[in-house]
Subunit: 403 residues, 2 copies
């Protein structure tokens, strides 16, 4: 098995201002390709430190050395210079590339250094930003240098991994089952016995979050066994497991809606646009998502959504009556066969004895049917909005898979 | 200045399944206390590796060595054993503690190892989980060992930092200036001269993202100097700098709107609820934010927002005419004195020669005035939505600070 080391460069990370998501992303992609990352290391913007650590990685014969950060245009971007000094290799200015990128980004004053690579390296093009990356072989190591901006790094990493034929995606020995609508403890109860029966072949781990619980299965023996255990678990958890690996609840719903030629509208109160945002994150959402009303203020619920004032006055804006009416009104106005509505108190203020902070109602309408549920999510504002968003999606998913 | 090294233990992280948020959190807290983290290192669940790296940290005389992970109850939790071997120190079972924790968490079968510490160390209590932590001085280093579960680590870290009187929070020597509406290169041009004049006293770093560029100033001499330089920079960049440290553009706008007793409505197309979501992330947004229409489909722009069909047909849904009308209609319908509208092509499909993917129009209306701008953000879908969201906020901020 080939091994990799990852070096992240930046004071920002060591000062705790920035989270190093790049190392995780690189490890994740390498892991899929059966390349084992054995070290993550972060050093300051300091030429001597950078040189020292790259040299150590080379001496230790890592098959792959991934370096991120320090390719920006400012004085504290020292990666190019460090590489040039360490490998006694000159910096080469790629003029054609500089002109092309300047034109692409319509920048007349793009710093030349962002088109410089060391002369023993090959360029790695940046499809979303201005700094060029590079890669080269040195002794036994493939050394890959990429920018620190996550989106640029990810795009470049994907190009590199696709281009380098040697790095084939092999059959993966890990699978993740994504669930929603059930707490970790209860989920564990449901699968405990099954896990004990299989833990010689599979290593199980539970990853809870406000969006649901993921179960990660790592094969300790054959991939056939992994596949079998995965399918059995999906079966046991069919009420909650909506997909595996990178599949999200919104993408599963999106596929249902597209395949069934259904369309969707949303009327949000406490989530304030979050549910709509999540659907429109998906490319292609325009084929089923019509639009939303964010009825944050009660006057909007009255005047725009047309909930009669007396219904709000009688039941309160956070009530099953108002929520249900929001779902009905939006589906009628927006001419959709499916709609979601929610109204709740995300806090930190706004609660009462009868309706404490955390109370939320969610309605899902599909054709002539409507389901309304009340929840009390006793968490902070941001988590409350995440849980409400996810519970709405979960309710809709349960309906769609039954239709 | 004291220095710290952080060692994270765990295959989960090296396989890219888990993001190492602990190292960031520790660095952040140390930074507040003027302790400089000079290395983050992650190693596998492997006794030899763990011992080797801790030993190196000790040899290098780090003042503080923080170790997280590997204190769980399973076979791959090897931190206790590694410490015991490296420091030739026996593991001691704290029976009283074991009984107390078993009772607290109502677990009869709590593994004894989770109440074991090495005999040269003092225990660090875990207020939210079961594994005990420990700390001890060795040569010149304070060594602190904590669990990997973030919530347990954070609680224990806070206990440790509070208990150890030596680590006082000193006046912070770092400040961040947040800017928007200007690219890094142009920003750097504007301040380059000023930076060169002050770089003996202040260390400057530039942090670009799709939401803007942050400039971080770290004091190398006195905090009075830092304060002075910060104010001068804010002055130079007054057109772009909207705040410092944790201040976001939406929170600055929110304060303006609340203080000026203004209210806001939004009509979103390509951002699909994202702008509304960002405002409603803020507690207290209900005092100025009325609501939105997400007019994703053209029929919604026509039938709900009331944009005449012939205007859409003539100019296209992505046009300054439609955008401006969206802003006007929403402010009238929602009875607000301020409104934002946007319509664009986030991609990946939907572009034409005349209006390529990336094109977006943004209108901001305030009372009887309206400003509409066209942008072409040549980036992927997700980044396009972030840039559009941020450009809308930036346009509104510029208006509010002039009113």
């Amino acid at each position: 098995m080939k091994i990799a080391g990852i070096l992240t460069i930046g004071n920002e990370i060591l000062q705790g201002f920035t989270l190093d998501t790049n190392a995780k992303k690189i490890s994740e992609e390498l892991n899929k390709r059966n390349i084992k990352t054995t070290i993550h290391l972060t050093v300051p913007d300091d030429i001597d430190k950078i040189k020292e650590k790259i040299e150590k990685f080379v001496i230790k014969h890592y098959d792959y050395i991934f370096i991120t950060g320090g390719l920006g245009p400012t004085h504290d971007d020292l990666t190019r210079q460090s590489l040039s000094e360490l490998f006694k290799s000159k910096l080469v200015f790629l003029e054609d590339r500089h002109l092309r990128i300047s034109k692409k980004f319509k920048k007349v004053d793009l710093p030349k250094c962002q088109s410089e690579i060391i002369d023993i390296s090959k360029p790695l093009e940046n499809k979303v930003g201005t700094a060029i990356g590079m890669h080269f072989k040195y002794n036994k190591s493939e050394i890959i240098i990429m920018p620190g901006v996550p989106i640029e790094m990810e795009s470049m990493l994907s190009t590199y991994l696709n281009d380098i034929k040697k790095i084939n995606i092999e059959k993966n020995n890990v699978v993740t089952i994504n669930t929603c609508g059930i707490y970790e403890t209860k989920l564990y109860e449901k699968v405990k016995e099954f896990i004990f029966k299989n833990d010689k072949h599979i290593y199980f781990s539970f990853l809870p979050s406000y969006e649901g619980v993921k179960i990660r299965l790592t094969s300790l023996s054959s991939n056939a066994k992994l596949h079998k255990v995965k399918n059995k678990l999906l079966d046991i958890l069919s009420e909650y497991a909506y997909g595996t690996d990178d599949v999200t609840l919104e993408s599963v719903i999106s596929n249902y809606l597209i395949n069934m030629k259904l369309n969707l509208s949303i009327c949000e109160s406490c989530t304030g646009g979050f549910i709509s945002k999540v659907f429109t994150d998906l490319p292609g959402s325009s084929s089923f998502f019509m639009g939303s009303i964010v009825a944050y203020d009660n006057t909007i619920k009255q005047n725009i959504v047309d909930i009669p004032k007396q219904i709000i006055d009688k039941n309160g804006a956070v009530s099953s009556q108002v929520c249900e009416m929001m779902a009905k009104k939006i589906s009628k106005k927006f001419k959709t066969n499916i709609s979601i509505a929610c109204t709740g108190i995300s806090g930190p203020s706004g609660g009462s004895e009868e309706k404490p902070v955390g109370t939320v109602f969610i309605s899902v309408l599909y054709f002539d049917n409507i389901i309304t549920k009340k929840f009390i999510f006793n968490v902070d504002r941001a988590s409350h909005r995440i849980m409400t968003k996810q519970a709405s999606l979960f309710m809709l998913w349960k309906i769609l898979k039954e239709i």
